[in-house]
């Protein structure tokens, strides 16, 4: 990252190769829309380049990367929420999202339950479950306290279980 700050293109290539795939998977699960996840991946890498002077040496690069991606996802989801109709469009496209067509009944149920979670809870459990972050790391990424991250995670898992029960009962 230090080399990228000085404009080293090779340093960027290394970071891109190392993180682009996992970042895209994270964003796919975060926004439940593969096309939007691609746009947000691009937005995240552009943000890294534009704001590389804001990177604090000694800080975990992965934490900084996921903080940027989380901010980008939150910004876009908020914009979609404001646009009412666009939200429905996103929800519809999410059905056809990453692996949607070949998804099992169970996977669809979990994906639907995830989509119904409040955004703040969803981002915590996506980072915790899929990115393997501890609650302390999540707190650092989201700029919240460790206790808040843990409480959000606990509530999110409990709510997810309830939503899954409701969805499976309806089926």
């Amino acid at each position: 990252m230090e080399r990228l700050r000085d404009g080293d293109a090779h340093a960027f290539e290394t970071l891109f190769d190392r993180h682009a795939g996992s970042l895209h998977r994270f964003l796919c699960r975060r926004v439940d829309d593969a096309a939007l996840a691609e746009d947000l991946t691009q937005e995240t890498f552009l943000s890294i380049i534009r704001a590389r002077g804001r990177y604090l040496l000694g800080r975990s690069f992965r934490g900084w990367l996921y903080a940027i991606a989380s901010n980008a996802a939150r910004h876009h989801l908020r914009a979609h929420r404001r646009e009412g109709a666009r939200l429905r469009e996103v929800a519809a496209s999410s059905r056809a999202a990453a692996g949607g067509e070949g998804a099992s009944v169970d996977e669809r149920a979990v994906r639907d339950a995830l989509a119904l979670l409040p955004d703040a809870q969803r981002e915590v459990i996506v980072l915790h479950t899929y990115e393997g972050m501890t609650f302390a790391q999540i707190a650092d990424v989201l700029g919240i306290s460790g206790v808040t991250a843990r409480v959000r995670g606990h509530r999110a898992y409990r709510r997810l279980r309830e939503l899954l029960a409701d969805i499976e009962e309806e089926r």
Binding site: L4, R5, D6, G7, A9, F12, F16, A20, G21, H24, R25, C28, R29, A34, E38, T41, Q42, E43, T44, F45, L46, S47, I48, I49, R50, A51, R52, G53, R54, Y55, L56, W64, A67, I68, N71, A72, H75, A97, A98, G99, A103, D106, E107, V110, R111, L114, I125, T129, Y130, G132, F135, G143, R150, V151, H154, Y157, R158, L160, R161, L164
Partner: protein
């Protein structure tokens, strides 16, 4: 959440650790729900990044890097904002008529906390760890506000001019002087994701610059004038900035 519930939450994804918590899980329905939900999440797959899309993203990012090969450190923006805020404060203080009849020591006693509020506000407005500095900026602004009321901005307790006329003139001055630093802060803050503590700190800094510019040429020193017509516009500017900043599209989503 009990200590055991916290341990169960921290042990998710670690079968051995969860096995050690089996007695607790058998009696705690909430933790069982948490463990079950976590296990079910494993069923969700995510599409890999399409190679074509990866190529496109890489090209766009390369072009961006080529266009700006040198990165400016974040504190560069803080210095620019400080320069604008102090420029406005100094211009107001030096170039306009001086009606404040308070002693020099007293004027300095009020101006010093305002300067402190500007410095901490500029730093907090652009620091990547803005949340921590935001608290410092807010504390500095409250100290400066108390100094403005306690120190007074004039020595005319027998002021007999119109209450509203003088008041609105001062309010207008605070807001007008705070516009250049506020606009600069909004421009510079687009380089990072919106953050309420940062935006609030920027507003406090801009308002403090307005208050500093007004301070030497206000002849009404009563709290009944200072609170509504000096402090209220200052804090109104501070409150307005987050509302505006939130609506601006950022150039970067970095913290």
């Amino acid at each position: 959440m009990s200590t055991r519930c916290t341990r169960a939450l921290d042990s998710l994804g670690d079968p051995r650790a969860l096995a050690g918590l089996r007695p607790h899980l058998e009696t705690c329905a909430e933790c069982r729900a948490v463990v079950e939900a976590h296990a079910r999440l494993r069923e969700v797959r995510a599409a890999p990044l399409d190679p074509g899309a990866a190529r496109r993203i890489r090209e766009v990012a390369r072009a961006e890097l080529a266009a700006s090969p040198r990165a400016r450190p974040w504190w560069h923006g803080a210095l620019v904002l400080s320069g604008v805020a102090f420029g406005v404060g100094a211009a107001g203080a030096l170039l306009t008529s001086r009606a404040n009849l308070a002693s020099t020591a007293r004027q300095i006693g009020v101006a010093a906390p305002l300067v402190g509020s500007i410095i901490s506000g500029c730093w907090a407005a652009l620091s990547p760890v803005g949340r921590r500095w935001g608290t410092v900026a807010l504390a500095a602004a409250l100290v400066a506000a108390a100094a403005v009321v306690a120190g007074g901005s004039g020595l005319s307790p027998d002021w007999c001019g119109g209450y509203w006329e003088a008041g609105l003139r001062c309010s207008r001055a605070v807001v007008t002087y705070s516009l250049p630093p506020a606009a600069t802060a909004l421009f510079l803050q687009r380089g990072a994701a919106f953050s309420l503590p940062r935006a609030l700190a920027a507003g406090l800094c801009a308002g403090a610059a307005g208050a500093l510019a007004l301070h030497p040429h206000c002849a009404v020193g009563q709290p009944s004038h200072l609170v509504p017509f000096h402090l209220l516009p200052w804090f109104a500017v501070a409150a307005a900035l987050p509302l505006i900043a939130r609506r601006l599209a950022p150039r970067s989503f970095a913290p």
